[in-house]
Symmetry: C2
Subunit: 195 residues, 2 copies
Amino acid sequence: MKLEFWFEFGSTYSYPSAMRIEELVTQSGVSLVWKPFLLGPIFKSQGWSDSPFNLYPAKGNYMWRDLERICRNRELEFRKPTVFPRNGLLAARVACRFSEQDWIAEFVRNVFCANFQLDKDISNRNVVKSCLPLSVEESESILSESETEHSKALLRNNSNMAVELGIFGAPSFIVGNELFWGDDRLEQAIEWSKQ
Amino acid sequence: MKLEFWFEFGSTYSYPSAMRIEELVTQSGVSLVWKPFLLGPIFKSQGWSDSPFNLYPAKGNYMWRDLERICRNRELEFRKPTVFPRNGLLAARVACRFSEQDWIAEFVRNVFCANFQLDKDISNRNVVKSCLPLSVEESESILSESETEHSKALLRNNSNMAVELGIFGAPSFIVGNELFWGDDRLEQAIEWSKQ
C-alpha cells in the first residue's frame, strides 16, 4: 500500500518525520509518496495570520521544548531557528515538481537540516540550490523549472488537495482513506499501510 | 518522583489517559497526583468561546476518528457523546476536593465512562453521585462538601495553577519542571519520572 507524507518545510514537527520517514517506510515495504504543501493558506482560512505556535505562546513554548526532547531522544541534531516559521515556498515548489525523482528524499532532508540544524534562510534561492544533491548546472535548470507557472500550479493544487483531504496541520500521513496527524502518528500510519 | 495528571472531564483525549494511568503509573513505582481543572477559562483567554474541536471542524473530525482508532487499539469501549464538550464542573469539584481519597481513581474512571461510553450528562448531580463508589449516604455528604465555597475555590486554584504551569490543553502531565501534553505523551512522562 501507499503512504502519503504531507509536509511543509517551515513546520517544526515535519522535521523529525522527514529525517526518518524514508528509512522506516522502506523497512516496511510500503511505497512512499512525497506531498509538500503550504500551511499558510490553511491557517489563513482558520483566521490565523501567523503560526498558531506564535499566536498562542503557551502552545509555542511547549512545542519548542517538546521538539527538543524528541530530537534528543532520537540523537537528531536540532537548533531553534532564529526566524519562525520560515518561508518554504520555493523549496516546496521544487519538491512538488520533482517529487518522483530519486534525489527527492535527500533534497527534502537537506532543506529541513538547513532550517532546523543550520538556521539558514530556506526562502533564499541559493540556499535552496545548495540543498539539491546535483551538479550546479542541473541545479540551476531545476530551480528555473520549479518557478514556471505550471510548477506553481502544481503546489497550489497540492495545498488545495490537502484541505479537501481534511488536513489541518503538518506532518500528516494519508493511507487509503485514513488521515494521521503528527510525527507521533508515523508508526501507526505505517502499521495501517501494512493491513 | 511524582507525576501530576492534569485532566478535564469534558476532554476527549483525557478519557483514554484516565482509563490507563493508574495501572501504568503503579507498575512504574511512581506516585500519581490527580489534578482536575477546567479548560473553559483557558480557551476563553485564547479568544475561543467553545472547544477548538468545534470551532475548527477539520481538527474536530480528525480528533473523533483518531480517538476511535486509539480506543479500538486498546480494546477500550467508546461511544461519541451526543453533547460535546460536556460540563464537568461538579465532577471536577468532587475530584479536586477529594483528590487524595482512595476511591478517587475509580470515581474519575466512572465519570469518564459516563461521558464517553454511556453518553450520560455528567453535569447532572445524580449522574455524578452514581459515579461515586460509595454508599448513598456518604455520596450525598461528599457532593454537599464539594459545593461549598471552599471546594469551589480549590478547583479555581487548580485551573489558575494550570495556566501558570504553561498548560494549554488536556490531558497534561507534569514531572518536576517538565510538561507533557497529550495522551500520546503519557509513556514518555512516566519514563521521565523514573530519572
